[in-house]
Symmetry: C2
Subunit: 443 residues, 2 copies
């Protein structure tokens, strides 16, 4: 049966209403999960290791006798690296190398301390320092992605984070050798086989065995997402991700089967994932649709792909490429492919997207694994105000100010005027004490 | 009566327990406020302007007939600028100039797009773009700080934000001319006299009259903080700030009255504000304590200062400056003064702080108003993982990837290997379609 994907045209009178239906996605708050997570967090905060051990044994079907026994040593990671195929190992290492190279450029471009002196000799600047310790959550079971280990650990490492603690659940003791091998390749410092809200709590509060971290990053299920939201403020978090999305902006010059497969590559993640094609060429849209129908039956994950395309997908005919760019800006997609012979013509018009893939050769999947940029990207329109995971997420900044004796004269008068205006007299007096008629330091 | 401020020494056997008591501060969740805020947000989301108007008239004691009537035009801002004293106006303008100059350096240092090509001709980079529209919350009434208007609006402006919408409540119609003048100086685009959770909701969801923004920044009371936490994800937010803090690290060479007044300048904000002195010289600590007792009676806000110092302040004798730096790192203070003759010797040891004020002349109050760096800083130890408000908070980044035909050959093989390993066949096929044996674009 052919795929029943929504087909819209911007010229249709009901376009706006249909488009709103395509866009609509609201993360529902599951109060039962929220409540359960709050209890687990409070319990781990209070009882530490004992609570982590109980939940892990219960939820993951283990029989561990201590949290220490849940730690995987370097030898186990190295064993995993030896166990995977040579092709897998060299692909992992090549991907890590490219991701590292990109994030090193990012560090150079925007991750260095800077300062300057003004004409009064006052020094002003910003000191950039890495976080002391971060925790990386890696899902276990079926959706265990070694690429996510690289995408979280490598930028942390490039930023200079002191210690990276990875947590990954092993339901019924099942370990994923590719995930452990990725941890070895990325240089993760310690690995605990724990998961769920209890793992997030252990990282955020610390226990006798698991060190408290400064930030928790990485994807997870609804319990993990809820736990991250709860501990936000006690520690930093990366983001709460919604379903994954791709938007393909096509001018009709890319082989239509390429675009069909790119739409599949997002749809196969999850039935809630969203794949949208924007194109000003009705004939081309029809050819992509024909490829969708032709290619789908051979895809192992065809049921997920079909459910995603029929539930949330759309093929949208636009008046022009310019209009397609405007609509793309309204969507602010996580992944945006500009599948065009002139990607450089359209890129300047694109203001909101997590990652922009330019030209027919740049399939999103290359970016997911090994092009270099991060695959952790803002979803659900949050690209309007947020950014890909990067080196900057594993650093923080401190302002630096060293006012000279001369600078204190000029600045003190301005500050005192404003402080009196705000009714903050101690602020004013502190500034006035530094004026020349007063004592000198060390006098 | 002398101030009963806690005095600790790191050599005391009970130091660790006492120190933990000093550090302890937990934001209590007020469930009644949370519930009320959730109702207001839902109501504004559903009824828009009508709800905003009702809450504003009720809570602020106004009789406005439309939300449009609550907007202040440019003429009113200019009138405020004409109404304040020439000294106030020139202080505001000088402060804005310096804050702008600093944030322009910040933009240069870390806010520009960048890209490079690898040896295969593949382009990789990051495009940095300003947010389209931001909302700035400014508290009304007594704690209305014009300096906060500058510190929020100027970096947004420097980042290139398209439109800045300011909201400020005017209880019983009372407008603060310094706040409105600051809005004029900073180049705020539109001002609405609304406040509380209803103002945050209006900015986050948009109403017929108030445009939806991409991010909400600025300080506020418990209702505003709760509302910001609720809308986080729908829009970006800056941070949820706790009580303000200063830590002074003194080597004993600064006039003790200067240090006493610096401690006051934090304490006068709020009874929950925290002022701590770390010093290896017991005699100097005694001199600062004497100045505290001598200076307090003359301070207009002495009651708040006393309550803050007695409730949360501490004078801590350390074994050395090195130990003082270690303790400072454990506290990760919002404001850190290194009141020393050799600030450059200690600065490299200081890893966690919102802003570092170096040398005796650099009173925190100069930084609060006009040195240039932002006064919106991470509190409650969150400087371990977060940063001052800056130009980067008003920008977001998009990854750029343009894979060359040649690059697609190498990257496609790596990506396919890893994608098959993760069981994501469409990802693998999309990469393989770009390998040479397949169709060429436009063929």
């Amino acid at each position: 049966m052919n795929v029943q994907i929504r087909q819209l045209a911007t010229t249709a009178p009901d376009f706006e209403a249909e488009f709103q239906r395509v866009l609509h996605w609201a993360a529902e708050t599951d109060h039962a999960i929220e409540q359960r997570v709050a209890e687990i967090l409070a319990d781990v905060c209070q009882r530490g290791d004992a609570a982590v051990l109980e939940y892990t044994n219960r939820f993951d079907g283990l029989g561990a006798t201590s949290v220490a026994a849940l730690e995987l040593g370097r030898a186990e990671l190295d064993a995993a690296l030896a166990q995977i195929t040579p092709a897998q190992r060299s692909a992992l290492e090549a991907a890590a190398r490219r991701v590292r190279a990109y994030h090193e450029r990012q560090l150079e471009a925007c991750g260095r301390s800077w300062s300057y002196r003004d004409e009064d000799g006052t020094l002003l600047g910003q000191k950039v320092t890495p976080l002391d310790r971060v925790g990386i959550y890696v899902p276990g079971g079926k959706a265990a992605y070694p690429s996510s280990v690289l995408m979280n650990a490598v930028p942390a490492k490039v930023a200079g984070v002191g210690e990276i603690i990875m947590v990954v659940p092993t339901p019924r003791g099942e370990k994923n050798p590719l995930v452990l091998a990725a941890a070895a390749v990325a240089g993760v410092d310690r690995v605990f086989t724990i998961g769920g809200a209890q793992a997030v709590a252990a990282l955020a509060y610390g226990t006798a065995t698991i060190p408290k971290v400064d930030k928790v990053t990485g994807p997870g299920n609804a319990y993990v997402a809820s736990a991250k939201k709860h501990v936000y403020g006690t520690v930093g978090i990366d983001m709460i991700a919604g379903p994954s999305e791709i938007l393909v902006l096509a001018d009709g010059t890319t082989p239509p089967e390429w675009v069909a497969m790119d739409l599949f590559s997002q749809a196969e993640h999850d039935e809630l994932a969203q794949s949208i094609l924007l194109c000003p060429d009705a004939d081309y849209i029809a050819r992509v649709k024909a490829e969708i129908d032709r290619l789908l039956p051979d895809m192992p994950r065809r049921d997920v792909i079909r459910a995603s395309l029929e539930g949330r997908g759309a093929l949208i005919l636009t008046r022009s490429m310019e209009e397609a760019c405007e609509i793309s800006n309204r969507i602010a997609p996580e992944h945006l492919e500009v599948s065009s012979r002139e990607p450089g013509r359209w890129e300047p018009l694109l203001r909101h997207a997590g990652a922009i893939f330019l030209g027919a050769y740049t399939s999103e999947s290359l970016g997911d694994y090994c092009a270099g940029p991060n695959h952790v990207l803002p979803t659900s329109g949050t690209a309007r105000f947020s950014s890909p995971l990067g080196v900057y997420d594993f650093q923080k900044r401190s302002s630096l100010i060293e006012v000279s004796a001369q600078g204190a004269q000029m600045l003190g008068r301005i500050a005192a005027e404003l402080a009196y205006g705000e009714g903050l007299q101690a602020h004013a007096r502190a500034a006035e004490f530094r004026l020349d008629q007063n004592d000198q330091p060390g006098a």
